[in-house]
């Protein structure tokens, strides 16, 4: 295909969009659907994790994913985490533990943390670090991020 209409399920809602083959999932989310929570931080080389979303529950770099290839799959972005205005335990923990400074890495960090806790509800500190090794943060030194994930796991 070069240019076609496709259906995307983002945060439980279906969207029908005309897209081109060279559109990435990140561009679709940010530019077409207005979900600006997911960010770009590197030269779209898979090196920073700021663009991480869940595709069928799996942590995926949206900057390297062609939108067409994930049509019809369940996509979760940071905007879809809180339900009915109630924050997810991870979101609450990030706020309460000072795990957010500039906030740019936060969406990717929280999504990657969710993928971890969905697979491993009781991770060790080392397992948390390993799960977040693909998400760069320049502000926090990661200390409070790891604390927050461990605290959320206890809930």
């Amino acid at each position: 295909m070069r240019k076609e209409i496709a259906t995307f399920i983002v945060n439980g809602v279906s969207y029908e969009e005309l897209i081109e083959s060279n559109m990435t999932l990140l561009e679709l989310l940010r530019n077409k659907l207005g979900f600006t929570g997911t960010k770009q931080g590197c030269a779209a080389s898979g090196n920073c994790g700021a663009c991480t979303v869940l595709v069928d529950g799996k942590p995926t770099l949206s900057c390297l994913t062609l939108a067409w290839t994930v049509r019809g799959r369940n996509i979760l972005t940071i905007e879809g985490l809180a339900k009915g205005g109630i924050l997810h335990p991870l979101q609450k923990a990030f706020i309460n533990h000072g795990a957010i400074q500039c906030g740019y890495c936060t969406p990717g960090m929280v999504i990657s943390s969710k993928a971890l806790l969905d697979e491993n509800p009781n991770p060790t500190k080392e397992e948390v670090k390993a799960a977040l090794a693909g998400n760069l943060c320049r502000c926090t030194g990661y200390v409070k991020i790891v604390d927050a994930v461990l605290a959320a796991a206890k809930k």
């Binding site: 940010r30 979900f35 600006t36 929570g37 997911t38 960010k39 770009q40 931080g41 590197c42 030269a43 080389s45 090196n47 920073c48 700021a50 972005t77 940071i78 905007e79 985490l81 809180a82 924050l87 979101q91 990030f94 706020i95 309460n96 533990h97 000072g98 957010i100 400074q101 500039c102 906030g103 740019y104 890495c105 936060t106 969406p107 929280v110 948390v128 670090k129 390993a130 977040l132 090794a133 693909g134 998400n135 760069l136 943060c137 320049r138 502000c139 926090t140 030194g141 990661y142 200390v143 409070k144 991020i145 790891v146």
Partner: protein, 781 residues
């Protein structure tokens, strides 16, 4: 240490921006879309040094979707500097400043320098358009080494620049020997005599690296002119009012016609202090007649954004007596300006003075030559010269201690500055607080200094511990204009609106400032609504640099709150039939101090005043504040490393960071600054190694796969301790805290490596390759 009981100050309040950021609702410059907005991209020079003979933009202009192409013909010709601190003096240019930049010049001076720019309907078209611009260059010989650049016959990078004249205004001057600026401090005492009196003289040279700020959000700028010609800007501001003034200067427009609106910024670390490509964005908006968002990709961010200051070499000479007295210190610095001086003059000034408040020396002097080469300019990054000075000074301190046979901690403690000693900017600004001795003692105990330091090491993998101490500043007064105006108004329900404008780069400033206001006004934290991000709404504010935010803006908020409180209590006093000074306020209730049962809800007073028929009043308070000092925040960092003597790898096992930043308004925020700073400091020490091709001048480390910053897996066990000795001049005793966190790591690790394996590395970053080389040389001896 902290004995006073506060309601809000000193508490770990969660950040006011937390919910927005954690739900993805927070908007950054990269998330802003204006109707009709175009995307701007910059064409970069592939050559290190060249004259632009001709630019043909016709093909690019014809590409469908392209709406403007600008070259040097379309932009102001004025010379200026991207260092936004430069026009802050009353007259217009500082001693350490140089106006050597143009928006677009007829020459390019480093690989990556701007040549032209395009604005198109989207990023894809803009990138295509760049390919269609034909540039004819006349390549010139380039020079990449500072010592070579100062020699006779070296390529001239600048012919005429503007420097400060006697009347304080910028005037044309020729450039000699590629020296952009010469910085010299007034000597204290007699350094030569001091060296004569010394029992031992240690002289070392260090080379530091061109670290990148590497905020996770790359540079983005939006410029939009309204129908009346008023310009509104969005970018990752750190000093928006200073940026307004420089833009007005460059474009010859009234300052009042420039409005800076900030969203959240994905990091700053000094990057937001540069004017950088904002004028190019403005030029594109002017030419196209539409709003333009200029976007930098990560690769552009790493190859064309002003970096940390770099020294090559920093020569540090120190004289000590056998009894441990430091008799003389002489610092000579060759600072790398790169192609434009930008911040290198100011950072050299700081790098040769900020260490003055750590140890007492009887005689000292310092000077720096800031040298042009065809490299990326040196700008501003967290620590601003301090990490480089500390790297060499703290190793020299260890060497001196070893020479005279004193323990490294004992030697430092013996020479520590005391209360009342001259501050960074001289004896007129004495030290008002210093708890570094306590920091050292606490850190030493936590790392196990006595048990681990100076012991015989064996085996393939050897452990060692090292220390580094430092002082920074709380703002740059009196060297810099440090004006913070803050405003508070009471709503009818006695909640307040606090209007301030520190940078929104993630330092938690708003939260801490709201805590100050809440504490003064006896209000719960959630009753403070903070408004920021618009210079048409907020009062004048220098911004966020030099770790000034809590110390200076905090004081402005304190005073503004005090004024508002006074007005509220005055009205309440009339209502209650007492004198105003008999009243106080706590938990939204105004009460008589001597008889707390008698009082009234604050909301009753505020509502009555607003809705009164005859005597309307809204209680406000504002303050235009400037400090009278710059008390140094102090830190001691102790590190334990393990060195693999076969591979040269240095593993940081544990790091203890002990901080004296006065009272912590929000301890969680302060810890965050220490932890985040430690990650950057460790990167400076070990991993962040920008690499340039020395024949072409091209920067090769252009993404996170080649420029390595810390991941979760690289961080050691990190222990942070706050020593809170309130400073009498700071709001609730607070001092600065933003930068100190990134200063000590390189020296602490270097000293620990020496303890482990007996070699000293004087070039950053400390790589396994360098350690192996040093070990071999030691073995050879």
């Amino acid at each position: 240490m902290v004995t006073q009981e506060f309601s809000v100050v000193g508490k770990r309040m969660p950040d006011v921006s937390g919910v927005e950021k954690v739900t993805g609702a927070a908007k950054f410059t990269s998330d802003i879309y204006l109707p009709g907005m175009l995307i701007g991209k910059v064409l970069h020079s592939p050559h290190a040094h060249a004259r632009i003979v001709n630019i043909d933009t016709s093909k690019a202009e014809r590409l469908p979707g392209v709406e403007a192409v600008v070259t040097c013909k379309d932009v102001p010709k004025k010379q200026y500097t991207g260092c936004l601190m430069n026009l802050q003096s009353y007259s217009g240019i500082e001693v350490w400043g140089v106006h050597d930049v143009r928006v677009l010049d007829e020459k390019v001076r480093y690989v990556g320098d701007a040549v032209a720019a395009v604005a198109a309907v989207n990023e894809k078209v803009a990138e295509e358009a760049l390919e269609l611009i034909d540039v004819e260059y006349e390549q010139l010989p380039a020079v990449f080494d500072e010592i070579e650049a100062m020699k006779e016959g070296a390529p001239r990078i600048h012919d005429v620049v503007q420097r400060r004249q006697d009347d304080g205004t910028p005037g044309d001057e020729a450039v000699e020997r590629n020296i952009g600026v010469h910085v010299a401090h007034k000597p204290v005492g007699d350094v030569e005599k001091g060296f004569q009196e010394a029992g031992y003289i240690i002289e070392e040279r260090a080379y530091t690296s061109k670290q990148r700020q590497a905020p996770l959000e790359t540079f983005q700028c939006i410029a939009s002119f309204n129908a009346e010609g008023k310009l509104t800007l969005w970018t990752q501001f750190q000093v928006p009012n200073l940026m307004k003034r420089m833009i007005a200067y460059v474009f010859d427009m009234p300052v009042g016609m420039v409005r800076a609106k900030g969203e959240y910024a994905g990091g700053g670390f000094g990057a937001g202090l540069h004017l950088f490509r904002v004028p190019l964005c403005i030029a594109l908006a002017k030419k196209s007649g539409k709003p333009v968002k200029l976007i930098y990709s990560r690769r552009e961010e790493f190859t064309d954004r002003p970096t940390r200051e770099t020294f090559g070499p920093y020569t540090f000479k120190m004289g000590v007596k056998k009894d441990g007295t430091i008799t003389a210190v002489d610092r000579k610095v060759v600072a790398m300006a790169g192609a434009y001086v930008e911040f290198s003059g100011l950072s050299s000034l700081i790098a040769t003075s900020v260490g003055n408040t750590v140890y007492r020396r009887q005689n000292y002097k310092a000077e720096a030559d800031v040298v042009y080469t065809n490299k990326l300019p040196s700008g501003a990054m967290r620590g601003f010269g301090n990490p480089g000075e500390t790297f060499i000074r703290e190793q020299v301190m260890d060497e001196a201690a070893e020479k005279i046979g004193m323990d490294a901690l004992e030697f430092r403690l013996k020479n520590l500055c005391q209360l009342g000693d001259p501050g960074t900017f001289g004896p007129d600004f004495p030290l008002t607080s210093i708890a570094l001795d306590e920091c050292i003692k606490i850190g030493a105990e936590k790392i196990g200094w006595k048990e681990k330091h100076g012991k015989k090491k064996e085996g393939v993998r050897r452990k060692g511990v090292g220390v580094s101490c430092m002082a920074h500043n709380s703002g740059a007064w009196p060297v810099h204009v440090e004006h913070s105006s803050a405003h508070i108004k009471f709503n009818e329900d006695a909640s307040i609106v606090l209007t301030v404008y520190p940078a929104t780069i993630g330092t938690g400033a708003y939260t801490s400032l709201a805590q100050v206001a809440a504490e003064v006004l006896g209000l719960p934290f959630e009753d403070v609504h903070v408004v920021w991000g618009d210079t048409d709404v907020t009062l004048w504010e220098t911004g966020s640099h030099a770790s000034r935010t809590m110390y200076i803006i905090g004081s402005a908020v304190y005073e503004a709150a005090t004024e508002a409180k006074g007005k509220l209590l005055n009205r309440a006093a009339k209502k209650l039939g007492v004198a105003a000074d008999e009243l106080d306020i706590k938990d939204r209730r105004i009460y008589v101090k001597a008889n707390p049962g008698k009082g009234i809800a604050a909301a009753e007073i505020t509502k009555e005043a607003i809705y009164s028929h005859y005597d309307v009043e809204q209680f406000t308070g504002s303050s235009s504040y400037r400090p009278s000092n710059s008390p140094p925040p102090y830190q001691a960092v102790f590190t334990e490393v393990e060195v693999d003597t076969e591979t040269g790898e240095v593993k940081v096992l544990k790091m203890v960071v002990v901080s004296d930043s006065g009272r912590a308004i929000n301890p969680m925020t302060v810890e965050g600054q220490m932890e985040g700073g430690a990650a950057q400091g460790m990167g400076y020490a070990l991993w962040e190694e920008p690499v340039m091709d020395t024949t072409t001048g091209q920067v090769l480390t252009d993404d996170f796969d080649t420029y390595k910053i810390a991941t979760t897996l690289d961080m050691p066990e990190l222990d942070t301790v706050l020593v809170e000795q309130p400073d009498p001049t700071g709001p609730f005793g607070a001092k600065g805290v933003g930068e100190p966190g990134a200063v000590n790591q390189a020296a602490s690790i270097a000293n620990a490596i020496y303890d482990a394996v007996g070699v000293r590395i004087w070039e950053l970053p400390i790589t396994p390759e360098k350690v192996i080389k040093a070990l071999k040389e030691k073995k050879g001896k």
